[in-house]
Symmetry: C2
Subunit: 218 residues, 2 copies
């Protein structure tokens, strides 16, 4: 019975890893669609989000079942409650990739963002994708060095996000108000994606160390 | 023992109600600050958000303790897991009220939004505030009629949010790009506030009926 329970806990971890992996794929494709105004690819991201939602739902049901059947305590309990929370954050990351794809669909055949911001979005998306990939590794290995790396990537995202507003507010910005609104939202979606990634990383850190605070001098 | 447990569950409900009530207060003040460019009031909202975060943290610890000590099953288990989720959504609603206050601080002594959008934001905030107040009632009474009312208020928020983009994209819009970006974010914050309110309402509905789907013809 005990051995089976450990196997169940392990499976929960695998399910989280699977969702994180799909989230990374969604961000990868959403950004390619965004960069190239590829509406088919955007539709693919939008359609694929249902799978992430379903996997989250399955994981949550499984976690609640384990709570009911095993009455876990201490570390096992924290692990299961943590899995419930991480799955919520991961599902939201999937939604944010979908929102980026929906902007692509809305503006097609135009590009969402002008050339001026191309590099910034490339970096925002690149960091987001790296965060998603490092989450997969973190969930698999629990190597806490990855938590610091995810934090650092998100700090960069925050700076890039702030930079988008500086660009928009500058005199050289001559885009339409609709484009300004789209660029604002897109940047916000990338920023939130990073924040949720950090939430997941912090939860893994907490489960391993029992501490919420992540030392930031690393 | 059993009686004490029921009292504990009841207390969890009271804590959720308290958080919802503070969230309503935060939205009320954030909007007043937004409308009148009142930076003191904005700072009050920003400072008060810590209290919501702490209450959420306390509630979560209490919920996990109940899971550990009581090993609840069936309805009681769902209730506790539901409380964990609702507290997350409520905490996010507090964050969004804070974000609105932060925009006020950022643009002070200017107003965040121009006169043209004054009525729309008044309605967005009014609906948000009504949602928060109805959540308090819903958590207290479990009267499911309120779930439908919250849904309807959020539908209106979605339409108002879409209307902000129509206004921004129109020829008559002559605001700066920075103002356009601010108005986009503010509208998004109100919209997310409503979404989280619906999440909480749906969870109460689920806990009472065992069904996730809310009939929308009511």
């Amino acid at each position: 019975m005990r051995k089976l329970f450990q196997e169940d806990l392990h499976n929960l971890g695998d399910q989280l890893t699977e969702i994180a992996s799909l989230v990374g794929e969604a961000m990868d494709k959403a950004y390619t669609a965004f960069e190239t105004a590829d509406v088919q690819l955007a539709d693919e991201v939008i359609a694929a989000d249902v799978r992430i939602d379903n996997l989250q739902h399955d994981l949550d049901e499984k976690a609640i079942e384990l709570l009911a059947l095993q009455g876990p305590v201490a570390g096992d309990l924290r692990l299961i409650v943590g899995a419930l929370r991480m799955s919520t954050s991961l599902e939201r990351m999937g939604d944010l990739a979908r929102h980026i794809a929906q902007l692509v669909r809305l503006r097609y055949p135009d590009h969402v963002a002008p050339e001026t911001l191309k590099d910034v979005y490339a970096k925002l998306a690149g960091n987001g994708l790296q965060i998603a990939r490092k989450l997969v590794q973190l969930l698999e290995t629990r190597d806490l060095e990855l938590v610091h790396e995810i934090h650092a990537l998100n700090e960069q995202i925050n700076a890039l996000h702030a930079g988008v507003f500086t660009t928009i507010a500058a005199n050289e910005w001559t885009q339409s108000a609709a484009t300004t609104a789209d660029c604002t939202l897109a940047s916000r979606y990338f920023e939130r994606f990073g924040d949720h990634g950090v939430s997941v990383a912090k939860k893994v850190h907490y489960l391993v160390t029992g501490e919420w605070e992540v030392a930031t001098d690393a």
